[in-house]
Symmetry: D2
Subunit: 97 residues, 4 copies
């Protein structure tokens, strides 16, 4: 089984530059051991549904202590079948171009 | 503390009519006891972050057994302060019109 | 034909209270004459695809002059068939509960 | 000025494999001449707001003739300042790790 989520999470009470806060989440994602890919609008993470949801929970917990307002957007794509879809989905589209 | 999420979750392998699957999630949201509001594009739910994430997990678990592909979109807005924001946020905008 | 979008658009360089900016967009949506519904996480608008996209463009134009950073999230659901789905989609789920 | 959008658009009435339809959009994005990056959950595109919205419109128009139901998710991040942020945003986070 494979769930890919794309997560963007950032405070909205810290002015317009939020990359230090985004870096906090990225460190947690990296430490999770799950496959991930950072892009300009979020980070894609692949795992079992509960695993990726747990990462989301930890990213929130890393911001909550010093942020008064936090915005989060998440998309998820679950597909019954083998993992390895971070690379696979992109390849599948590109070969049809 | 108050987190409002808006959740949309549906299978993409069941053709274009998915309201029976959306109803499954709504039942779970209702049974959670959290404040919620169904709208044409998703359901807003208010609670503590872990509480709303737990509801998301249960909605996914209700679809996973008979759906081969599931899509989910989620937005969250966390604000330090009192709950009651499902009504409060809408009122705050409308009084500024 | 019917496209429903849900739009959320707000500056992220103005601190955590952004309802005056959200009210600007709501006024534009109201003046468009399209069917709409404000909810705690965005505003649903129904129309032809080009019509709703044009409203998004005008909402952005209303923030751009005095906002240095703007975030926007949008979901759209297009369905071949008659309009009137702002009420119809919610009713279709509720009758299956 | 720089707007980055991330776009995902696909039919939900064609079963679970939709990469041929995603490829249609990617071809339009490519032909637009704007900077873009495909990722597992969408495509990031950078340009002026009206330019990127115009691309969205054309992607929809490429699916509408033979799709009865279409779902679209979009995030946008506008920032007053120079373009080149597809690479810049990712670098800015990575150097803070």
């Amino acid at each position: 089984m494979s769930t890919i989520i794309e997560l963007a999470i950032f405070p909205t009470d810290k002015g317009e530059s939020v990359s230090p806060f985004v870096a906090r989440s990225l460190r947690i994602i990296k430490d999770s051991g799950l496959d991930y890919e950072l892009n300009p609008m979020g980070t894609c993470i692949e795992g079992e549904f509960k695993q990726v949801l747990d990462v989301v929970d930890r990213c929130f917990a890393a911001l909550e202590p010093d942020c008064d307002r936090i915005y989060l957007t998440l998309k998820a794509d679950y597909r019954k079948g083998p993992p390895g879809r971070l690379k696979g989905k992109v390849a599948s589209v590109q070969e049809k171009l």
